[in-house]
C-alpha cells in the first residue's frame, strides 16, 4: 500500500478523544500510586516520630539529628555515592562494549554467546555473592591463586579485608551481575535501529568507530537513559552483594546507606531505619532530578 500521508484525517483521530488515553494509562498509574504513595508517606512520617518504647511522640527532626550524630554517616553517604557511580559506569561500559562486539559482522554463534554472557544476571544473587566471596578470600580464593600463578602479584591481596580494596572489589560483583542486562538492552536497541540508516553510513565510507559514535549512540539515547536509570536503581537497592561479602566492613569501608538501613531494621531500630530511608529517598530524588533535567532538555 502506498504510504500516503493522511495527516488531516489522523490529526482528527489523534486529538481529543480527550479521554482516549485514560483506559491505557490510568489502571497502571493507579496501582503504582497505591503501592508507592502510602508507604512513602508512612516512612516519612515514621521518621518524624520517636521510638515506640519512648512513647511514640512527634520528635520532629530529632531522628535525623541522631542520624548525623552517627560517627560514620558521612562515610556511609560517600560510600553510597561512590558505589552508585562505580557500579553504574562499569556495567554501562562493559554492557555497551559487549553489545557492540556481538553485532560485529564476523561473529558467529551469537545466540549462544549471548546466552552465556547473560548468566551472571540470571544466577541468584545470594549464590553469586557467596562464590565471589570465595574468589576473593585471601586464604582459599581462586583469584589470588590465579594471579600468583601468573605472577602478577607476589603476596595474596586482601581483597575483602583491606579497606582500600574492599569497595572496589565488591563493586566488581555488582558490575558482573548487571552488565548482561545492559548488553541485552543495548542489543535490542541496536536491532531496532533502522538498517537503512546504517547502510547509508557505510556506503559513505564512515569507519566503524565514527559510525558507532556519530550514528548509533545518538540513536540509542533513549535506551541508554533507561539503562542508566535502572543501574542507579539497582545500585541503590543492592544489599546482598555487600552484605554477604563484607557485612559493610572492614571498618565501614563498604557500608552504604542501604546497608545501614538494613542493619538498623534488623536491630529493629525503626526510627533510625526510617530516618535513613528518608535520607536515601532524598538521594534518589537527586538522581531523579538529574535524569529529568537530561530528558526535558531533549524535549
Amino acid at each position: 500500500m502506498e504510504q500516503a500521508r493522511p495527516t488531516a484525517a489522523l490529526k482528527r483521530m489523534r486529538l481529543p478523544e480527550q479521554f482516549a488515553w485514560m483506559p491505557f494509562v490510568l489502571p497502571g498509574v493507579t496501582v503504582a500510586v497505591l503501592l508507592t504513595v502510602y508507604p512513602t508517606y508512612s516512612v516519612v512520617s515514621a521518621s518524624l516520630f520517636g521510638d515506640t518504647a519512648k512513647g511514640n511522640g512527634f520528635v520532629g527532626l530529632d531522628n535525623f539529628a541522631a542520624l548525623f550524630r552517627q560517627p560514620r554517616m558521612e562515610l556511609y553517604l560517600w560510600n553510597t555515592f561512590l558505589w552508585v557511580v562505580i557500579t553504574s559506569t562499569g556495567a554501562l561500559v562493559l554492557g555497551v562494549v559487549g553489545a557492540f562486539a556481538l553485532e560485529v559482522r564476523g561473529i558467529g554463534l551469537r545466540g549462544l554467546l549471548r546466552s552465556l554472557l547473560v548468566l551472571p544476571w540470571i544466577v541468584p544473587h545470594v549464590a553469586a555473592a557467596i562464590v565471589w566471596k570465595w574468589f576473593y578470600s585471601s586464604e582459599f580464593g581462586m583469584l589470588n591463586h590465579v594471579l600468583r600463578s601468573i605472577g602478577i602479584i607476589k603476596a595474596p591481596l586482601n581483597w575483602l579485608s583491606d579497606p582500600v580494596l574492599a569497595l572496589g572489589a565488591t563493586a566488581v560483583l555488582q558490575i558482573w551481575g548487571t552488565f548482561p542486562f545492559v548488553m541485552l538492552m543495548v542489543s535490542a536497541g541496536l536491532q531496532s535501529i533502522d538498517g537503512s540508516v546504517l547502510d547509508a553510513a557505510r556506503v559513505d565510507g564512515a569507519g566503524w568507530f565514527s559510525e558507532a559514535v556519530h550514528i548509533i549512540l545518538p540513536a540509542l539515547r533513549n535506551v541508554m537513559f533507561i539503562i542508566m536509570l535502572i543501574l542507579v536503581v539497582w545500585a541503590l537497592n543492592s544489599l546482598i552483594a555487600i552484605w554477604i561479602l563484607t557485612q559493610g566492613g572492614p571498618a565501614g569501608a563498604t557500608s552504604t546507606m542501604p546497608i545501614y538501613i538494613y542493619s538498623a531494621f534488623r536491630d529493629f531500630n525503626l526510627s533510625a531505619a526510617s530516618a535513613a530511608s528518608c535520607l536515601l529517598l532524598a538521594v534518589s530524588l537527586v538522581f531523579a532530578g538529574i535524569y529529568v533535567l537530561r530528558v526535558t532538555k531533549e524535549a
Binding site: V33, T36, G106, L113, L117, I122, V126, L184
Partner: protein
Amino acid sequence: MARKSNARTLTTIIAYVILIGLLFFALAPVALMIGTAFKPNVEIFQVPPRWLPRAPTLSNFHTVMFNSGIPRYALNSVIIATLMTFTALVLGTMAGYGFSRFKFRGHRALSLFMLLGQLIPLIALIVPFFQIFDAVGLLDTKIGIALAHLTTALPLVTWMSASYFSTIPVELDEAAIIDGCTRMQALRKVVLPVALPGIISIALFAFLMSWNEFVLASVLTNTDNSKTLPIGLSEFATMFTVDWGSTMAAAFLMTVPVVAVFLLFQKQFVSGLSAGAVKG
C-alpha cells in the same frame, strides 16, 4: 577494497577478543558454582582451590530436592514471579503505550511520578511495607510479596515500554487505525508484535527481579506459605555450619529454568524486528 576488508578483519578480531574476555569474566564464577554443586562437602574449602570436584557427587542435589524446603519454595517463587510479571506487563505496557502515544494534561506530572516510583529504593520501604502488610493481613502471603515486587516493577515496565514504543513510528498505529482498528486493537495487533523483543526483555527483567529478590522476601515471609527460593538458599546456612554444596546445587537448579526460557526466546531476539512493516 583491501584496506576495508583488513579493517573488517581487525574489527572482528578485536570483537572476538573482547567477547572471550567477557566470557571468562562472566563464566568463571558460574563454573565455580557448578563445580561446587557437584563437590562433596569435604572438598569445598581445600587449599589450593580447585575448580572441579575430584569425586563428583549428586548428594547435594539429593539434599536439595528431598531434604529441604526448596521444592515448595520453588512453587512459591514461580507463582509470585509469574503473577507479578503478568500484572506488570499488562498494566505497564498499556500505560507505556498511553504515555508514548497520547498528549494529555498531566502527562508530564504522571510520567514524572512513574519515574520517581522506580527510584524509590525498596530498602527504604521495608518498614512501612512490613507494618501495612501486618495490619492488612498480607504478611506471609504470596500475593503480598507479589505486590511488594510490583512496586518497583510496574513503574519500570511502564517507562521501558514507553521508551520502546517511542522508537516505533506512529505511522504504524496510524496505518492500523486507518484500516479500521481501535487504539487498543492497534496496540495489540500491530505495535506489540513489532516491539516484541523489547517486551520480552522487559518481561524477563521483571520476572528475574522477582525470582531473585531476597531482602523484601525475607522480611515479609515467615512460613512455607510464601517463602521464596532466595530464602531457601540462605536456609542452608545454620548458625554453625553452612551446607555450601547444597546452596550451590539449589542455585544451579534455580538458574536452569530461567536459562531455558531465555534460550527459548533467543530466536525472537535474534530474528530481529519486522522493521520492514513501515517501509511497506
